[in-house]
């Protein structure tokens, strides 16, 4: 894929830039769709129509929203810390965007095929916290600061169970490379880690072999629980309901971005949506086979058309990712918000011990099998 772009453009530097900007295009497009989806799903869950005026069936509503954000006056509060106030949204977005570098969209399309992909992803996703704290502090507004504090405490806490859950799968694969994790699940949906992982031996690109001599059915309940832990922590890490305490508008006006307006708010907004897709895509990659199709065969390979294989991969990644984003919206209108103490209880006394126990059990089985 990278080679293809290089050939297409010819100039090395330009090609690299295009290569780096590609995910941004994707995020922009996805954000537009997601905004509409959020509004529409919200209204359906509440038995109303949602936006209907802008364009047919309200389809241009997100465009109008984006335009509004772009044209709005960019207000910096007088007592705010100018430098940090302006820097914060950038850092939050950079944190979200940096993670896209290792996200495999297809077998041939991954920004950087790192051996440490999963670990890098976990590390980089903690980066946005700093931006959030920075914004909350620089706004010089007590609601912003409180929101930022809550958000940071929440993200830092929930990173532990989510990372542990991901490492459980990494332990089974024996690699932190995301492509390896996907390869391990090839062959059909029954080989996905959500259903216990590969049922027959798999050879990775590095030559390592994942053995499946016990059929891996024992892992099914364990990995199901692991997925639940991961997804719950992912909800909390992206500040989504029922864990949206940092932005609880009934208590905090708007959380850490209370004072932000215009495009700076837009960047926070984009980062949040990008993060939503990111954690969903990671769930897809780690537990649901990533770019693999559910039945294990691709039309592109069958017909020997590489481009089609590529598109299929992107389609499956996006489809699985969108599904989990949709589940997030669904949960938003289903569950009430947790209290702060319930949130912390959930993390430290439920998810973390459970994830450690799972890691122990799975690790033990992996060693003795």
């Amino acid at each position: 894929m990278e080679q293809f772009i290089h050939d297409l453009i010819g100039n090395d530097l330009l090609a690299t830039i295009v290569w780096c900007v590609l995910p941004l295009v994707f995020i922009l497009g996805y954000a537009i769709v997601a905004i509409l989806a959020e509004m529409k799903s919200a209204s359906w869950f509440q038995d109303r129509l949602g936006p209907m005026r802008t364009g047919p069936w309200g389809i241009f509503q997100p465009f109008a929203d984006v335009l509004k954000l772009l044209m709005k006056e960019d207000i910096v509060p007088a007592r705010a810390d100018k430098i940090l106030f302006n820097l914060a949204p950038v850092i939050v977005f950079v944190g979200a965007y940096a993670a896209f570098a290792v996200l495999p969209f297809a077998s041939e399309y991954v920004g950087a095929d790192l051996n440490l992909g999963l670990f890098y992803l976990i590390a980089v996703s903690s980066f946005g916290v700093l931006g959030i704290i920075m914004g909350g502090w620089a706004s010089n507004n007590k609601y912003s600061l409180l929101g930022a504090m809550r958000s940071a405490a929440q993200i830092v806490s929930y990173e532990v169970p989510s990372a542990t859950a991901l490492l459980i799968v990494a332990m089974m694969v024996g690699s932190l490379n995301l492509q390896d994790i996907i390869t391990a699940q090839s062959g059909g949906f029954w080989n996905w880690f959500i259903l216990g992982g590969p049922k027959s031996d798999v050879v990775l690109a590095s030559g390592a072999v994942i053995h499946a001599d016990i059929g891996n059915f024992v892992f099914l309940p364990l990995l199901l629980a692991t997925f639940v832990i991961y997804y719950l922590s992912a909800l909390a890490e992206t500040n989504r309901t029922p864990f949206d305490i940092p932005e609880g508008e009934s208590e905090l006006v708007g959380g850490y971005h209370t004072e932000y307006s215009g495009m700076k708010f837009g960047m926070f907004f984009m980062a949040e949506y990008a993060n939503m897709f990111l954690v969903s895509a990671v769930a897809a990659v780690v537990f649901f086979g990533g770019w693999q199709s559910p039945w294990g065969i691709t039309l592109g390979e069958a017909l020997d058309i590489p481009v089609l294989t590529l598109l299929e991969g992107v389609f499956w990644t996006a489809a699985k990712g969108f599904f989990f984003v949709f589940v997030m919206m669904w949960l938003r209108w289903t569950l009430p918000r947790l209290r702060v103490d319930q949130l912390m209880y959930m993390c430290w006394k439920v998810l973390i011990p459970a994830s450690f126990a799972l890691a122990l059990v799975v690790g033990f089985i992996v060693v003795i099998r």
Partner: protein
């Protein structure tokens, strides 16, 4: 100058520049935030040294963990309670002399000493599995002992933080 050289100088500049801000800024919050860039620069240098695992660990532990805690501490004591804590300068002249002598010594030591050069293999791709193997073979005892140290630390922290 090759591309890696340019990248090295960029990272070095980021590291040193932000470290200067950490030290010289009067505003503690600025210091804390610019520490982030220092850590990032160091992580970049690790990558250039092919220590990929170390680089990501640096991000994970320092940026994602320690720095967040530090900023938490600074902010909780700074604006919320309205205690003015800025790092002022005291006894500038003696400090300058001491630091100058120390810096000179360090520079001399660094540049003049004949350091032991270890054999490395530049074609190593990924150090993770090597580190993992070393941790459970040659360095098993320190690995386990650090587990005990961390357990003591976490119990100690909980003990100190508990309500009286």
């Amino acid at each position: 100058m090759e591309l890696t050289d340019i990248i090295f100088y960029i990272f070095a500049l980021v590291t040193i520049g932000s470290a200067m801000i950490v030290v010289f800024s009067r505003n503690l919050v600025y210091s804390a935030f610019s520490l982030m860039f220092t850590f990032l620069g160091v992580a970049g240098l690790y990558v250039l040294l092919l220590a990929d695992f170390l680089a990501v660990t640096q991000l994970m532990i320092y940026v994602g963990g320690i720095l967040v805690l530090m900023i938490f501490g600074v902010m909780l004591t700074h604006r919320v309670v309205n205690v003015e804590i800025s790092s002022g300068a005291m006894r500038v002249i003696p400090a300058t002399i001491v630091v100058g002598v120390f810096l000179g010594t360090l520079l001399l030591v660094l540049t003049r000493t004949k350091w032991m050069v270890m054999e490395g293999s530049p074609d190593v791709i990924g150090t993770t599995s090597m580190i993992g193997t070393a941790l459970v073979t040659d360095y098993l005892l320190p690995f386990e002992v650090s587990g005990v140290v961390l357990l003591v630390a976490i119990v100690a922290a909980a003990f100190m933080a508990r309500k009286r």
